[in-house]
């Protein structure tokens, strides 16, 4: 096997993606493990190795006695073609073992447009793509991650989904399957046992029926022994939860090539479009002391020269300034720099600004998301024009010249005035820069305005809303292109067709699995990479199956409709989401729940949600 792989590596681009053997990679010999887990990332190595969740779960599994977890990624097109030609199966990075020889094959679902890659990886790894075709010798294929909150479009390919935080659940599932292996249980018995684990959804044990109009009529377990509701898993004690302090360090530069320090999980802001904001509730912080200790271990074990603070909203970390000061102090002799990503516009910026400047001057990112105050109220983004102007002035006065502004289009109730508002905000940012005296501001203003298309997500108040059609999106993009023709401003937009397909999978039901399979057969892959996205083939797949993408993406749903993901309890209740959807349409904001419980549903979980105590 290895010789044949070595020969392939001579003919592909960036062979270093496939060599494994990095610092801190797992080294247990494959044959010595009692149970083997292939952690599969359905995108390239550079994307995979930038992902914190994989490092956490990889670390947890390899710390378990008798368990070996190895990694596999989606090969780039040249490698994929070469492997098929030479009949080399998809292999793990560590021991170069084909996927089919692992007991468990686990995929992380980070992005809808990576779904075809999952099918390609299974096929290339020697595992039947459809769960129904797998036999006793085949691996159990599981999947988790944020997109597992609507698992239905993948139900034909995945044996079991794991919903929610993975720390405890992955260990539980793996030891359960180890016991099953010892007892030589059949595949069917294993799946039955898995279905009893909290947070695990085994799709083959559920049946659905549809109304004539295509909406769901019923969703139910096939018998009473299977739970009707799947409750999301929570890692209650983040402070003491496992954290990977010696993750693999790639030989080659990856996208996030630095230490990622997860300072907290969850966000209480309640932006109505945001899946993560609902899915990762409640907010849980790690203490400054814990983070300083973790950071030291990470620097010592990896040698990285940069730490970035990771969370949904780092500006909301209760002791951000203290953390930044102490991290900077702790590592000043080792010359480790600190970067603060995803800063919200209303964060405690000033103090932190001075800290980051001492070490490194990166581009600043602000996300007003919408162009007018009315629309920001609709989406519950509690940010005002004055906030933005003030923070920008601070930034420009402190020597920043590069700022990114993120917006969305296609938000519910949006009018032409809201689209114009995006350009007005960009113009205001330019004016703010020029208002700073020439000697005091840095030269070369660069304001990047990125406008994405709203993809309504499950478990958000916008799950009922229709996405703009690709035609409408293109019109709005045209308008913005003219309006944003401003000196110093760069405009980025997203492909309207990709956004539509994202919505189809985010909001899709079981029939989207057929579309996915047909698209895979037609050769769709690496759809998240625009150069490989074949909209024509996707549309062919929809057409052949008589399925209309607009049914999933561009249809407003009634609040009494059964949604494909209703059987999952993520903590936030459907009643709360519905109330939020109604408030959105009246442009009524909902305060951050740290200012008082909004009864989103988490209050049911005593001791878990601090805000609700």
């Amino acid at each position: 096997m290895t010789d044949r792989i070595e020969r392939l590596l001579e003919r592909v681009e960036k062979p270093v993606r496939y060599i494994g053997g990095e610092l801190n990679a797992a080294v247990l010999p494959f044959a010595e493990a009692e149970i083997t887990f292939a952690f599969c990332f359905p995108d390239t190595y550079e994307v995979a190795m930038s992902h914190l969740g994989m490092k956490i779960l990889y670390g947890i599994l390899n710390a378990m006695p008798g368990v070996l977890c190895e990694r596999a990624c989606m090969p780039w097109v040249d490698m994929l073609t070469a492997m098929r030609e030479e009949q080399v199966e998809l292999f793990s990075l560590e021991s170069r073992t084909p996927l089919r020889r692992f007991d468990i094959v686990g995929f992380t679902l980070q992005y809808e447009m990576s779904y075809t890659n999952i099918l390609h990886m299974l096929a290339l790894g020697g595992i039947p793509v459809k769960a129904a075709d797998r036999g006793e010798e085949d691996a159990i294929v599981i999947a988790g991650g944020p997109c597992a909150s609507n698992p239905e479009p993948l139900h034909r390919f995945i044996d079991a989904f794991l919903i929610g935080d993975g720390e405890d659940a992955i260990a539980e599932v793996t030891s359960l399957l180890r016991d099953c292996k010892r007892e030589r249980l059949t595949r069917a018995q294993k799946l039955r046992k898995l279905a009893q684990v909290e947070g695990v959804y085994v799709p083959v044990l559920y049946a659905v029926e549809y109304h004539k109009d295509g909406t769901l009529q019923s969703f139910a377990p096939i018998d009473a022994s299977v739970p009707a509701v799947i409750r999301k898993r929570f890692t209650a004690d983040l402070e003491n939860a496992y954290y990977p302090t010696s993750p693999p360090v790639p030989y080659t530069q990856v996208i996030h090539d630095r230490i990622m320090l997860e300072i907290m999980r969850g966000c209480t802001r309640g932006c109505r479009f945001c899946h993560a904001g609902m899915f990762y509730r409640p907010v849980r912080e790690r203490s400054v002391e814990k983070l300083l200790a973790l950071a030291q271990e990470l620097v010592d074990s990896t040698g990285y020269e940069e730490i970035s603070l990771s969370s949904l909203s780092s500006g909301d970390y209760s002791r951000l300034q203290e953390l930044c000061e102490r991290l900077t102090e702790q590592f000043k002799d080792q010359h480790v720099s600190l970067s603060l990503p995803s800063l919200r516009i209303d964060s405690v910026l000033k103090g932190s600004l001075e800290q980051t400047q001492a070490v490194r001057k990166t581009s600043l990112t602000f996300a007003p998301e919408a162009g007018t105050q009315r629309l920001r109220d609709v989406i519950n983004k509690g940010v005002t024009q004055d906030d933005l102007t003030e923070k920008l002035r601070d930034a420009f006065e402190n020597g920043w010249n590069s700022v990114k502004l993120y917006f969305m289009m296609g938000l519910p109730t949006e009018t032409p005035e809201d689209i114009e508002g995006i350009a007005k905000l960009a113009k205001a940012a330019v004016d703010t820069y020029y208002a700073v005296p020439k000697g005091r501001r840095a030269k070369g203003l660069r304001i990047t305005v990125s406008v994405s298309v709203l993809v309504p997500k499950p478990f958000t108040p916008f799950q009922w809303c229709a996405q703009d059609t690709p035609e409408t999106v293109r019109d709005k993009q045209q308008t913005l292109r003219h309006l944003l023709n401003i000196r110093g401003v760069h405009y980025n937009w997203h492909d309207s067709l990709t956004s539509q397909l994202e919505a189809c999978f985010a909001l899709g039901d079981r029939r989207m699995a057929d579309v996915l399979y047909r698209a895979y057969e037609l050769g769709c892959k690496l759809d998240g990479w625009s150069e490989h996205f074949r909209y024509d083939l996707w549309m062919q797949a929809f057409r052949e199956l008589g399925i209309d993408p607009a049914f999933y993406a561009n249809r407003a749903r009634g609040t009494d409709e059964i949604l494909p993901w209703d059987f999952i309890d993520i903590g936030v209740t459907k009643a709360y989401l519905k109330a939020e959807w109604e408030r959105a349409q009246r442009a009524e904001t909902t305060p951050d729940c740290r200012e008082g419980c909004n009864f989103c549903g988490l209050q049911r979980m005593k001791g878990l949600c601090k805000g609700c105590e």
């Binding site: 001579e10 270093v16 030989y251 990896t302 990285y304 490194r360």
Partner: protein, 225 residues
């Protein structure tokens, strides 16, 4: 003070490019706790230079890097501390203290000796080598910093021999650059009727001129040449 470090870039890691290897070494040095020097500026990095960058795809048996350090550090303990933190099969095999006034290693590097292991019949390769060396000139495409250029490659070839299944050749660093093993192999394939196919290129040594002007391994050069 500076430490001249001799290390092995094994065949298993031959696909690592020069910049990636540099980053890997810098991270290893940071983990080692050795008294390395940092550059100034907003984005300080560990100072480090290589005697002769090695292309992606080529392994090296005696690669050389130059690590400036502060204060005193024994060669043995430097070697031991570095090896404790080097990843995978990357391994330091020698360390030599040199003075800050010692010439830059890149300036000393005058050539490279390569061994290219193939499965090809030695006789065919021998014929091709004989034809190449006896030619008036041999035009081939060389990849340089500024793109591709066609030129006579013979001035770059110091020696070229076929031993068993291996091509052994010494390339000279000229003002215009040097010669990659792949260019020589392409020439040998073109001059014979053997099908081009896989081979493994290994740099055996980085060479410098001694006081007599002979090519010797760079690591043995003394301060005064």
């Amino acid at each position: 003070m500076r430490m001249m470090v001799i290390y092995v870039k094994p065949v298993s890691l031959r696909h690592i490019g020069h910049l990636d290897l540099m980053r890997t070494m810098q991270r290893a040095l940071r983990r080692s706790g050795l008294p390395v020097r940092y550059s100034r500026g907003f984005n300080p990095h560990i100072k480090l230079s290589f005697a002769s960058p090695l292309s992606v795809g080529i392994a090296g048996e005696r690669e050389i890097m130059d690590v400036p350090i502060d204060g005193e550090c024994g060669e043995e303990s430097f070697l031991e501390q570095l090896n404790r933190v080097l990843p995978g099969d990357l391994k330091a095999v020698g360390a030599r203290c040199i003075d800050d006034s010692f010439p830059t290693l890149m300036g000393l590097a005058a050539g490279s000796r390569y061994r290219i292991e193939t499965d090809h019949p030695a006789d065919a390769l021998k014929d091709a080598a004989k034809r190449l060396l006896s030619a008036e000139n041999y035009q081939a495409v060389r990849r340089t910093k500024s793109g591709e250029s066609v030129c006579d490659i013979l001035p770059y070839i110091h020696t070229l021999e076929i031993k068993d299944h291996a091509v052994s050749f010494t390339a000279l660093n000229l003002q215009s650059g040097s010669l990659r093993p792949s260019v020589v192999m392409d020439a040998l394939f073109a001059l014979s009727d053997i099908e081009p196919c896989g081979y493994t290129a290994i740099r055996e040594a980085i060479l410098a001129r001694d006081a007599q002007g002979d090519l010797v391994p760079l690591e043995v050069i003394s301060h005064d040449g």
